[in-house]
Symmetry: C2
Subunit: 312 residues, 2 copies
């Protein structure tokens, strides 16, 4: 049986999983904190890989899902958002010094799209958009059954299109990007700002507010929290209307922590799409749904890439 | 020698050309006005096809480039912008009653992208964006050497993304779309509105102002006309920055009548991209250039589709 080892590297934790070909239930999963005083993230990753490899045969490939900009062809991380020092970082070459197995890398949100398409909510679709809404906003696109990565692997940055010209500053330094307006971070910040201005809310007095807190307060009927979720859903919907005009997919899949807020976010999102779509033809046979693979989407997507990227 | 007959159907005129396989210089071109009291546009198209077919052998396919929404797979025009009555119009079936040759249809701007990619400014590129800026704004995308058409043939509507929320009304009914802000029509309207408000301009008193008039006045140093061109270029540049984040092409090709204004439009466009790009990585090895095939791009693109879409 062919096996694959995949990793999903986040700012907080590294997860490594062992999969058998075509099975999305991992045989093993190991987790470790990304940052540590003793070891670099790469050393920690190598340690986990060795641990999983130790008692496994027939490992055909290793695939690493990384946040940020990736030059997949050359195996280089151009810039990993949350991992200090991973700038122009030749991760494939560095791993290849330790493992004599084919090594692939990919952007985590792109790979999550691939996972949802092959094994999740997008099965059977040929044109798919996947948006992940959590701390930031990212995504991936499948067109004609192919992952869109673009000329240099930088495509599908859904969080980085302008929705409010001169709007709030984005993590990338630009202003008014979707990520700066509707990500989990942006939702929490908007509520904090309104509370500071004197708007009443159940969340008043809470020292740190997260998007999860806002969703919970909204569920309890808190008016400010409801407005915050609705505002985020509306802007995501406006952006999706533009994406439909550009990509014309048959399915839009919403993933990431914020999407688990469900109707609080997705009802206003649907309304916003209806309001902004230029022609109903884009909505014929269009599915808008939530992701099925949850936190495992990146790992499963890395499996898909590993399976497809390796000669049998 | 294999031959192909292609048509480019505009709101004003229909052009039909005869090509030999792989040669972009047409053997014949015929033009006719689209509207006529005696004949429908379809009748006029059929007349031209018969005329060209009469003394030609080995015609392998007919391909028709149409403005508007196309269901290419089923050979149906969903809505041709400027041709009254062409709504859910089964053009392939209607033509098939007259010609026993394979018939293909495509969106004119999509086909122009295909033409520029195969025989024009985009040769050798695998990821290409083509924007046509004339009366309206449209375009086409090549990704991994494939034309992006989307699930229902509606992709790459570059004119219909929001650049000014609550901005001017677009031809599609939405507000603040790129087409409503930066097309030839929008440029001319903006200048007319400013003149009506009392802004001085060489164009004052002219009963009808076109984008060509504005470009000419700008060349003569007219300040209002210069501002109009610069404003359009800036918004197109802002939109292109977003498109780069989404598609990550290696070339952006600007076509259509307004693009012939050259630096008046394209210098501010480049400045706007630089201002709005989230990471310089998108600009590495990126070419921004003007189209090479001019008014023939649609015809040549139809040739490319005809050549590729027909069994040898």
């Amino acid at each position: 049986m062919d096996n694959y080892i995949v990793a999903d590297i986040g700012g907080t934790q590294i997860r490594v999983a062992l999969f058998s070909k075509g099975k999305i239930e991992p045989l093993k999963v190991r987790k470790i904190r990304t940052r540590d005083k003793e070891q670099t993230p790469l050393e920690r990753l190598i340690t986990l890989f060795k641990e999983v490899l130790a008692d496994t045969d027939h490992v055909r490939a290793i695939c690493v899902a990384v946040p940020g900009f990736i030059d997949a062809e050359n195996g280089i991380i151009i810039d990993a958002n949350n991992i200090p020092g991973w700038v122009n970082y030749p991760i494939r070459q560095l791993l290849a010094e330790h493992f004599s197995i084919p090594i692939l890398i990919g952007n985590d949100a792109n790979l999550a799209a691939l996972g949802e398409w092959r094994y999740g909510a997008g099965q059977g679709h040929h044109h798919l958009l996947y948006l992940t809404i959590s701390t930031g906003i990212g995504g991936g696109v499948i067109l004609n059954d192919q992952l869109l990565i673009g000329a240099r692997g930088l495509a599908a940055e859904f969080g980085h299109i302008t929705v409010i010209p001169e709007g709030p500053t984005c993590s990338c330094g630009q202003r008014g990007h979707l990520e700066a307006v509707a990500s989990g971070t942006a939702i929490a910040r908007w509520v904090q700002e309104k509370i500071a201005l004197g708007y009443p809310s159940l969340l008043e007095g809470k020292p740190v507010i997260s998007a999860r807190d806002v969703a919970e307060a909204a569920r309890q009927g808190d008016e400010l929290a409801l407005r915050a979720m609705s505002r985020a859903g509306t802007y995501i919907g406006y952006a999706i209307a533009d994406f439909l005009h550009l990509f014309n997919p048959s399915i839009v899949i919403l993933g990431g922590g914020v999407s688990t807020a469900g109707p609080l976010l997705i009802d206003p999102l649907r309304t916003a799409i209806l309001e902004r779509i230029m022609d109903r033809a884009y909505l014929n046979n269009l599915t808008i749904t939530t992701a099925q693979l949850g936190d495992n989407a990146g790992l499963v997507g890395a499996l898909v890439l590993a399976e497809s990227g390796v000669e049998p």
